[in-house]
């Protein structure tokens, strides 16, 4: 049974945001005043829910009987041969219902929507995984669902658009700006400020204004809570390192958070390096960006010298975002976590390597973490154990793979 400590961290140590929603210098709320009462309402309702045994019971029940938790841990020795012999363990979020870790957050927030007394849910999506997960939870709970998705993403993730429609959601293609995730978020905020009385904005990552970074993290936190227990059961000790892909940062914070209080466990986040730093076409927000405000939160941002957002690039729609959750910004600056870039090419090599050596087709997002783990293994040596969050499965990426590998 999920406990309040599992959900909210149980005092892992000074890592909850302050009353303004700040993680150190990051986070906060930079939104139109009109939205503040709604954010306050979400924060208050969530604060009550996270210690309410009835809410925890319902969330736990859904995670077990609907999402398919706990997800298993898989040892991948054949894949790890390319990592200098280090042991690599995959946390199999790809095996959850809907095929990615996003279902955890979505079920939590959909329950919260009911608690808020709201009947309509809106969400943004990049790769479509959060949109599919949201549409799924809304179908399950009888909520009206509208998904905003950039036109470019609608094209490259057509299969997910069809899935969302089949699940009864309305998909609104967004034709503004770069026509990707950031513009879908802008459009969702516009909807929210207009329809806030009836609507919950089911935000998909650990970015955005307070309380989203904290709340989404808590709902994703189960990944690390389970994995920590499973690694110890399997190996008798904690892993030496944890690796995860970072776009907005929810799967990464989900697997990192239970390990923050373990100083011997290194935390490594892998951002989308796209065509490489020199090309300027990447999504290296933490490693190449600067501090600014985007989508309601102070964090690292890809921006020019006057604060205009620079369009990101990644072969993976889920990592193609010029911002990142404020807690990652804080973990970076405090030195507790380290962030690196993985190029499209490196990610695609790991994508195919895992498929051929282990019979697992990962999401391209997750393939960034796999590529990172291969490098990490070579650095840490054969005695090391590396936990990788395999955040989603690659079915949705077959179109991209067919093109990339000429399949």
């Amino acid at each position: 049974m999920l406990t309040a400590a599992d959900l909210a961290g149980g005092g892992v140590g000074g890592d909850d945001p302050d009353i303004r929603g700040r993680f150190g210098a990051f986070g906060g709320r930079f939104v139109p005043e009109a939205l503040i009462p709604a954010l306050d309402e979400v924060a208050k309702t969530y604060a009550e829910a996270k210690i309410d045994p009835a809410f925890l019971r319902e969330f736990d029940h859904l995670l077990r009987t609907y999402a398919g938790r706990p997800t298993t841990l898989t040892d991948v020795p054949r894949f790890a041969e390319s990592a200098g012999g280090a042991r690599i363990l995959l946390k199999r979020e790809d095996l959850t219902h809907t095929g990615a870790h996003k279902i955890n957050n979505v079920l939590g927030q959909a329950l919260l929507t009911k608690r808020l007394g709201k009947k309509r849910v809106i969400a943004e999506t990049g790769a479509g995984q959060h949109g599919v997960a949201t549409a799924t939870a809304c179908a399950l709970m009888g909520l009206e669902c509208v998904i905003y998705m950039g036109e470019v993403d609608c094209e490259r993730q057509a299969l997910n658009v069809a899935r969302m429609k089949l699940l009864g959601a309305t998909v609104v293609p967004v034709a503004n700006g770069s026509r990707t995730l950031k513009d879908a978020i802008n459009e969702a905020f516009r909807d929210w400020v207009t329809n806030v009385d009836t609507t919950h904005y089911l935000f998909g990552t650990v970015a955005g204004p307070h309380p989203f970074p904290e709340m989404v993290r808590d709902f994703a936190r189960i990944i690390g809570v389970e994995a920590r227990r499973q690694v110890v059961e399997l190996t008798g000790r904690l892993p030496d390192a944890v690796a995860a892909a970072v776009g907005g940062g929810s799967n990464a914070i989900g697997v990192f958070h239970a390990f923050i209080g373990d100083p011997g466990v290194a935390l490594h986040g892998y951002e989308a390096g796209g065509h490489g730093v020199e090309s300027g076409e990447h999504a290296l927000t933490l490693t190449e960006g600067s501090v600014g405000v985007l989508h309601g939160s102070r964090t690292y941002v890809l921006q020019d010298d006057e604060g205009q957002t620079i369009e990101s690039h990644s072969i993976s729609a889920g990592l193609d975002y010029p911002g990142v959750g404020p807690e990652h910004a804080w973990l970076k600056d405090s030195g507790r976590a380290t962030y690196h870039g993985v190029t499209d090419a490196e990610a695609m090599e790991s994508f195919s390597l895992l498929a051929r050596t282990e019979g697992i087709i990962p999401a391209i997002e997750s393939a960034h973490a796999l590529a990172g783990a291969l490098k990490l293994g070579r650095e840490l040596g054969p005695e090391a154990t590396i936990l990788v969050n395999l955040s989603g499965r690659g079915d949705k990426d077959m179109g991209t793979a067919m093109k990339y590998f000429n399949l």
Binding site: P32, E33, V193, V196, V293, G307, Q308
Partner: protein, 264 residues
């Protein structure tokens, strides 16, 4: 420089509301924005808000998004915004910059406040800077001698209204409705109620914006507010015009209609 205080004292003496027009810098062109805003002043606007074009305008509707996109495509930068302020200030209106927070944050708050004051600007409106985060900006603005205007919304509680009003100088911006910028068929009934809830907390003028676009609406709002703010309706005139000259004429006509409205 004409200050907001001067504008509202004059309007009060004339027993009318002030007319405030919005236009982004760089739209339709860098020079065109100065010409259009100057025409708006000549036809009756007391205050001009110059929008600072930003890549992610999440509280703007399609009309302003479109205009801002064009301004950014024109290569509009903060130096151009300052030049626009300078040009429009020559017309004798009080000139504000309306901007999302990130461009100021990135540019440097102290530098931005100083340069805006040097350009003859009267202050700023910062719609996504909440009272909790506004402390340093208010200090830099006060040091530079410019006003800070913030927004209250129909959803604002009494506590929030008080927090917003405490940060304001010049006037308080009452957002008439829950939604994004853009002209509407009628002005939201929430506007008058909100102005009424703001009044007990401040002696500052209270101005109403969002969804106002005709002389009739301006007259209605002028019945209970100290200022009427119009943005998208001006932009729409320019977007719909076949060329810059007719756009300018259309803007002038609208400003005159609105100016008659605030005097009704």
């Amino acid at each position: 420089m004409t200050t907001l205080q001067t504008v509202f004292e004059k309007a009060r003496a004339d027993r009318r509301a002030a007319l405030i027009g919005y236009l982004p810098a760089g739209f339709p062109t860098k020079e065109g924005a100065v010409a259009a805003a100057t025409a708006m002043v000549e036809a009756g606007c007391d205050v001009i808000e110059i929008g600072l074009p930003y890549s992610d305008p999440l509280m703007d509707g399609p009309t302003i998004q479109d205009a801002v996109h064009r301004a950014l495509t024109n290569g509009t930068r903060i130096a151009d915004v300052m030049r626009t302020v300078e040009g429009v200030a020559r017309s004798g209106a009080a000139v504000l910059v309306m901007t999302y927070w990130n461009p100021i944050d990135r540019y440097g708050a102290e530098r931005f406040a100083r340069e805006l004051a040097d350009a003859g600007g009267a202050g700023t409106i910062t719609p996504d800077l909440t009272p909790e985060e506004a402390g340093p900006w208010c200090e830099h603005s006060a040091a530079a001698g410019i006003d800070t205007v913030f927004l209250a919304a129909p959803s604002s509680t009494e506590d929030r209204i008080k927090a917003v009003v405490d940060r304001c100088t010049g006037f308080v911006y009452a957002a008439s409705l829950m939604g994004v910028t853009g002209a509407r068929k009628s002005v939201s009934s929430a506007a008058e109620g909100l102005v009424g809830r703001i009044r007990p907390h401040t002696g500052l003028p209270v101005c109403v914006g969002l969804g106002v676009g005709t002389g009739v609406q301006a007259a209605e709002v002028a019945g209970y507010a100290d200022g009427v703010i119009v943005g998208s309706a001006f932009i729409r005139r320019i977007l719909d015009a076949p060329d810059e000259a007719s756009g300018l004429a259309a803007v002038r006509t609208l400003a005159a209609e609105l100016a008659t409205g605030v005097r009704a």
